[in-house]
Symmetry: C2
Subunit: 140 residues, 2 copies
């Protein structure tokens, strides 16, 4: 059970870094170095985020990435959606057909409930949250 994959993790770290430089374009090279993320891989992640309007980019020397919207408006679920597909619920394996085993329907119903809760929790986390709660806090 892994809620976040590595690319989501990388992406969040990149976003936080970019957010910290409020407005100033941050090049992928810098993020890669400071966050120890493979450069070429990070490039792709950032491009994906840009495609989804989470980031904006400026080309050429001195270019880089800036946030596409306010940190408080970039949710963890947004990032997860980009890299882990729909942050969404286990669909009933027998959707169309008649569910021929009630027990497993009960299971699926329960799982769905849990997933909904998780989703709610995740939606409470934004890049903004991470930035704010960082101030004056102890390390892991």
């Amino acid at each position: 059970m892994k809620l976040l994959t590595k690319n989501t993790d990388y992406a969040v770290r990149a976003l936080v870094k970019i957010a910290q430089r409020a407005g100033e374009p941050v090049p992928a090279s810098l993020i890669a170095k400071e966050e120890r993320i493979p450069y070429a891989y990070l490039r792709r992640l950032l491009n994906d985020l840009r495609d989804r309007k989470v980031l904006r980019s400026t080309e050429g020397k001195g270019g880089g990435f800036v946030l596409g919207r306010k940190p408080e408006e970039i949710f963890l679920t947004d990032v997860m959606e980009v890299f882990q597909g729909e942050v969404n619920l286990t669909e009933c394996m027998f959707r169309q057909k008649i569910c021929h085993n009630r027990s497993t329907c009960v299971l699926r119903h329960k799982i769905r409930e849990i997933e909904k809760k998780v989703l709610g929790d995740l939606e409470g986390i934004s890049i903004g949250t991470l930035l704010n709660e960082t101030k004056g806090q102890k390390n892991d």
Copy 2:
């Protein structure tokens, strides 16, 4: 975000089926047919469950599988552990080292909280639960 993988799902369905036949050995062939699970694949799943003492088996004609303990004592987390590895928490990527980015530690802390909640919820579901709540309930 997929809480359950297909093999866990298969396994749970098999367990429920076995539970329903209270005590009588249930052959893999029957489960495979009724639950539409690939026979050879199911065989392996059942063997894994037996290795983990979730099931017990009797060989030979008329043999099959019975529960290794009471339905109420077989938890979803048990099954998940067998097939999806430790139902456990995202570990800090910088465990030993000093966490050099507080924001991501905040993230990890939050994720950990969510995972703990999920774990708690999952622990509330057993084969027994699924059996009981099945009675007289509507389909999906």
